[in-house]
């Protein structure tokens, strides 16, 4: 198969999975937040609100796109498009796993869209350009709340990009590469047979500091709580997207979640070992099927209980239990008997698991932390985060230089 | 249609961009636009540096471009600060209105 066909197929698959994931990340967020706040969250559409994202999508598409009369039309329309496009592009250089190899067909392809040898720079570049979506959206709306939101976000994103870049550099120094794939591969192996050689655990405690800086700056870059000043609803109505509705709003919304996923994926590759398992190989392979089987057992156990919050549960619980059980069994089979598929799926599982863990962290923090004041936000980055990142980088560079 | 273009085309592109930058510098009245025209000229020069680097198979041109970028960044920081101050004091951005040192 020519390269271009494979690339198109991969792009289609990745885009489909990514867009679905975006929608469901949002569902997960609402659910988790609800449970933190002792609510139930989306519940009506589909079993436990599972179809809620679909309903949201339909609502956003069919809603009337209100175009305010006082806006700068070209930029008003371009801004959300730019935001979402840039957010989606950056996923193209992130690898998801080792490679997919089908020996029967003699077919082999790496599990990513492209492997650029300056991958991390590309991501930095795209995230740097990503500011324009928000800034332009705020400016084009011709509304003082939007303008303030746009100004805040551009200042904030420029400011937090500095510590983020510095935090990125230290794992690059250790791995001595700029390619995402090489970065993930360099973290294979274990110290003493059980501590994974992830960058997070190297040069203790420098890389833990770098990881924390990266995650904090990541929160700010994606305008998430506690750094969601650009859209602080009690001050700025809804910030830069006050004037947007329908698809425009959806664009910003998607961009935000997409950026979140990108940041989590990059953090995974930089610090958490990419798709490297958390403990050595033969046993770690069984974690994935085990989780599915446990989920199936949990669901089936619940379906046998008499007390149900919802009448449909007596059908949906066992059904999902059976589906999960089947998936678990299938995975078990793959791990045990289909080596080529195992080589593809197990790394993918680890990568996705880590990304979801980080996403859960994002949501968790949104549920628990209050918002910064704007001056605190700026002082925090310039007077604390940036110097710490600088010192951390210097220390890492020194250790690396002495080590070699 | 040739499959590849010679380096001189890149140089011509660079010259065109530079000329447009000069034109912007000369014909625009807004300080910020004038400033952006300067950036355009710098970019044009960078392109020619990289093209020459390709021609001579050396990395030095890239280094020069890199320095140009650094200087441009410094220049933008100071220049925009000056523009902010000028605007604060005279509340105008038209470059023709800022022709005397005293108010």
């Amino acid at each position: 198969m020519p390269l271009i066909v494979i690339s198109i197929i991969k792009a289609a698959v990745v885009a489909f999975v990514l867009l679905t994931a975006l929608a469901y990340v949002q569902w997960i967020e609402r659910k988790v937040l609800a449970h933190i706040q002792l609510r139930v969250g989306p519940y009506r559409v589909g079993p436990h609100g599972l179809l809620q994202p679909l309903a949201d999508v339909i609502k956003l598409i069919t809603k009337e796109g209100v175009m305010p009369s006082h806006v700068n039309k070209f930029f008003y329309l371009m801004a959300p498009f730019m935001a979402v496009a840039l957010a989606l592009i950056s996923i193209s250089v992130i690898p998801f796993g080792t490679k997919l190899e089908i020996p029967a067909l003699g077919f082999s392809t790496p599990m990513e869209l492209t492997d650029v040898n300056i991958g991390i720079l590309v991501i930095l570049a795209i995230s740097a350009v990503g500011v324009y979506g928000v800034a332009l959206g705020g400016w084009a709306s011709n509304n003082k709340y939007s303008l303030l939101g746009g100004l805040r976000s551009s200042a904030q994103m420029i400011s937090y990009e500095l510590p983020m870049s510095l935090a990125i550099v230290s794992p690059l120094l250790i791995a001595n590469t700029l390619s995402m794939r090489a970065l993930a591969e360099s973290q294979a192996g274990f110290y003493f047979g059980f501590i994974p050689k992830w960058h997070l655990f190297q040069l203790f405690p420098l890389q833990i500091i770098a990881f924390l800086i990266f995650v904090i700056a990541g929160f700010a870059e994606t305008n998430r709580v506690p750094f969601d000043l650009p859209e602080a609803e009690n001050e700025l109505v809804a910030g830069f997207h006050t004037e947007y509705s329908s698809m425009g709003f959806a664009g910003f919304f998607m961009a935000e979640y997409c950026n979140m996923i990108t940041i989590c994926a990059v953090a995974t590759h930089l610090f958490l070992g990419g798709w490297q398992p958390i403990f050595p190989a033969p046993y770690s392979d069984y974690v994935a099927p085990l989780i599915f089987l446990l989920a199936a057992a949990f669901l089936i156990f619940h379906s046998l209980q008499t007390l149900k919050t919802r009448t449909w549960d007596k059908y949906t619980f066992p059904a999902f239990g059976v589906i999960f059980g089947g998936l678990g069994a299938g995975l078990l089979g793959v791990v045990a008997f289909v080596p080529w598929l195992r080589e593809a799926i197990i790394p993918l599982f680890w990568f996705v698991a880590k990304v979801f863990l980080l996403l859960f962290l994002f949501i968790w923090i949104r549920g628990t932390l209050p918002r910064f004041r704007y001056d605190q936000l700026m002082r925090f980055t310039w007077l604390f985060l940036f110097p710490v990142a600088l010192v951390q980088l210097l220390a890492t560079a020194l250790v690396v230089a002495l080590w070699n | 249609m040739p499959s590849a273009v010679p380096v001189s085309w890149y140089l011509i592109l660079s010259a065109i961009l530079f000329g447009l930058g000069v034109a912007g510098f000369l014909f625009r009245r807004n300080i910020i636009t004038v400033f952006m025209s300067i950036e355009l000229m710098l970019n044009a020069v960078n392109l020619s540096l990289v093209a020459f680097s390709y021609q001579h198979n050396q990395t030095d041109g890239h280094i020069f471009s890199f320095f140009v970028m650094v200087v441009a960044a410094a220049e933008a920081a100071v220049g925009l600060a000056i523009i902010l101050t000028v605007f604060k004091n005279r509340s105008t951005l038209a470059i023709d209105d800022v022709s005397s040192l005293k108010n």
């Binding site: 740097a128 500011v131 | 380096v7 961009l17 034109a23 970019n43 093209a51 970028m69 920081a77 925009l80």
Partner: protein
């Protein structure tokens, strides 16, 4: 393929540059300039300057131009007023510019008749490693001097932007 890519992105660059000069609103000009820079980044890639392409986007498009846009938004700069001299520019400046560019192009073509063909991937010394190696050995002193320059620029910007002045 190389020629097509060059032509596409050169066209984008020139188009955006013309737009920069022609547009009256600064923010349109700023976005056009960003367009020029992105197109140039692609051309850098074609010339094998992959590190520089990334740096171009990160530094120019991601930092410098954000500052410009930020300032434009902060000052809420409106569109430029037309003055009579615009006619002068149109009737005298445009032909002069075209003539000048023609002369320069002619000079380049005649003075450098046989330059290399640009083939993507032919030049391999533009990687981050090659640039870094050069930067930290041969050009170490200029590099340090630029860091000083940046420091001075920061100080200057801070002093200028204080409230009292």
């Amino acid at each position: 393929m190389d020629a097509i890519l060059f032509l596409i992105f050169a066209a984008i660059a020139v188009g955006c540059a013309i737009n920069l000069v022609v547009q009256t609103h600064p923010i349109s000009s700023a976005l056009s300039l960003i367009g020029v820079m992105l197109a140039l980044a692609v051309l850098y890639l074609l010339l094998g300057a992959e590190f520089l392409a990334a740096a171009q986007i990160i530094v120019y498009a991601g930092a410098i131009m954000v500052l410009f846009v930020f300032v434009i938004m902060l000052l809420n700069a409106g569109a430029e007023q037309r003055v009579n001299r615009a006619q002068f520019a149109k009737f005298l400046g445009v032909p002069a510019l075209i003539g000048f560019l023609g002369v320069v192009s002619f000079l380049i073509q005649t003075l450098m008749p046989n330059t290399k063909d640009v083939v993507f991937g032919a030049f391999r010394n533009g990687t981050a490693e090659a640039v870094g190696r050069k930067l930290f050995t041969e050009y170490l002193l200029p590099f340090e001097v630029t860091s000083l320059l940046i420091l001075i620029a920061i100080l200057g910007a801070v002093v200028l932007a204080r409230k009292e002045i």
